[in-house]
Symmetry: C2
Subunit: 374 residues, 2 copies
Amino acid sequence: MERLLSDEQRIDWLRLIMSENVGPATFRTLINRFGGAAQALAALPDLYRRGGLTGRHRIYSREAALQDIERSEALGARFVAIGEAGYPPLLRQIYKAPILLCMKGNPAVLELPAAAIVGARSASALGLKFTRQIAAALGAAGFLVVSGLARGIDTAAHQAALPHATAAVLAGGIDSIYPPENAALHAAIGERGVLVSEQVPGMVPLAKHFPQRNRIIAGLSLGVVVVEAALRSGSLITARYAIEQHREVFAVPGSPLDARAAGTNRLIQEGAQLVGRVEDVVEGLSELLRRPSPPAEVFMQDPFDHAIAAGGHPEVPLELHERLFALIGAAPVGVDDLIAETGAPARLVVAALLELELAGRIQRLASHQVVLAE
Amino acid sequence: MERLLSDEQRIDWLRLIMSENVGPATFRTLINRFGGAAQALAALPDLYRRGGLTGRHRIYSREAALQDIERSEALGARFVAIGEAGYPPLLRQIYKAPILLCMKGNPAVLELPAAAIVGARSASALGLKFTRQIAAALGAAGFLVVSGLARGIDTAAHQAALPHATAAVLAGGIDSIYPPENAALHAAIGERGVLVSEQVPGMVPLAKHFPQRNRIIAGLSLGVVVVEAALRSGSLITARYAIEQHREVFAVPGSPLDARAAGTNRLIQEGAQLVGRVEDVVEGLSELLRRPSPPAEVFMQDPFDHAIAAGGHPEVPLELHERLFALIGAAPVGVDDLIAETGAPARLVVAALLELELAGRIQRLASHQVVLAE
């Protein structure tokens, strides 16, 4: 599993993951199918075209990738690929684990067991105080405190954990400082803790990056503590990821008449552990540490590939794409159902779906399903 | 089950339940064994003596009982015995159900399905506000709101439910007004709602009466809503009774940094339903109403009597009392174990235990166990 990329490979990996409509799952499929990132990059123009992508499409240039790597080095950061030493092992286990992480700081802290603390930006004084108590206690107990460097709960968690160990997962690039008043905290975490980003340096965070970032916060952590969270908040998205990733969720209750408690109270109703005292978190997480860890997912294994025989990517008759596309709607449909419905060989169906996905026309979901792209 | 006592029987029942060391469970045993309250009263002096009660013992006088009944009538109240029409059916099902209840007000409200709302005397403004919302919603949904007329949450619950239906269970006699500022509320509930007391009129509430009262609050109700409660509070005692009585417990969460939420948060950790919205209570209780009700316990059935053949109360060799007493300690011991240990006939052991209990030397617990009296 100690996959050490050559410099050239790292450039190709960065190019491939940054290319249009390539995400972590597509990346794995392409690598499996074409034998490497360089070969997949060479195949991309044809795959886009066959999938029906019209107009311009972006294949990330070698120059851009080189610049990203140089810029990260200038910032004191580095790109670590999934499977390499230094890539957080818990994160590797999640669905759509990031292919490359840009990281800066003290890598030793990532060897500690991690717990996330997330919550409302407009937090109450009590919420902030309790956050600091939890973060300090987790730090003192030997946990890495993970959060998102946002205003409010996130900031309080990082500040209280900084004397121990803390990691900030950024929605934008490793050098994107937000909110501006956290510039000093950002710098301090980059020295004594760890900054983590899935984006390239210089990337300004877009709306879609925040939920992607939240999946990393949960993925790094044995458990997620939600301190104050309204319904439909980013913190609840992090909690959902934690549930999907089979991580523990802890929620701090609050008055039903305080909107900031609506999300955490709901989580408790749905099965999250109620945090009545700081010790509930520390003891709950320490208990998890004593359990045997689940078997790690094998890198590069992908459910999408279940029907693919060896032999690379097949040439798909173009009419199959449109037959499949007509069968796919806004509701998820199973890949097996599509195979049955079309009567086409499984390896052709799966190949056509990959091409449709690369063309941005469909999205794959966990558990062998696809939907129309949003 | 429509046991209608004659005036004389009611006097004897009141005398028996008010006599020294006679509680609801002992009362049942005595009635079963001697065939009626009058016969049990006649046997009491001998039973006290045989159990080892030294010094004075109080058998409640006929004059005192008559005075209680006259006084209750003068107050517009009346004594209702277990098994009689007007005795709340859910209350009849609990362990140690009250033998006689003194009640005043509108008996029709007791035919509504009931829900208790209890909580801290020193409640927060938010807690009081949420209490009023829950009480008004329960009242509007056709529930009788039961509470204890204490300061704080109880008062808010009664006030908000008064336009609909509310019952106040008093720790002292039906005419004991506490706290004094609730005199008008006490009077209003005595007119439009129902006042309930297990004590005789004029009884000033003693410390031991409060947990006894709390068992009635829970016993009247399909479920108990705890709004704010510290650890070791009376509201938690009510919740424990509700759990013992297989009633639903709802708890309103709060900040871990507010001591008034420590009890409710703990209840949720132990399995109580979290109240995140008023609707959670109304819907939860309405759901209970749709379930078939559990079979009612048969009146006068008592586990203590399991080994008693017909034929009344046997003459127990006096040395058995001391052998048994030596075997009973501060930790509960099973009646079956005592039978095995002494090798004495079960009917003699059970009779001796009754006498020891009447003498105030031991206490019986639920599920066939006894301990030393406190």
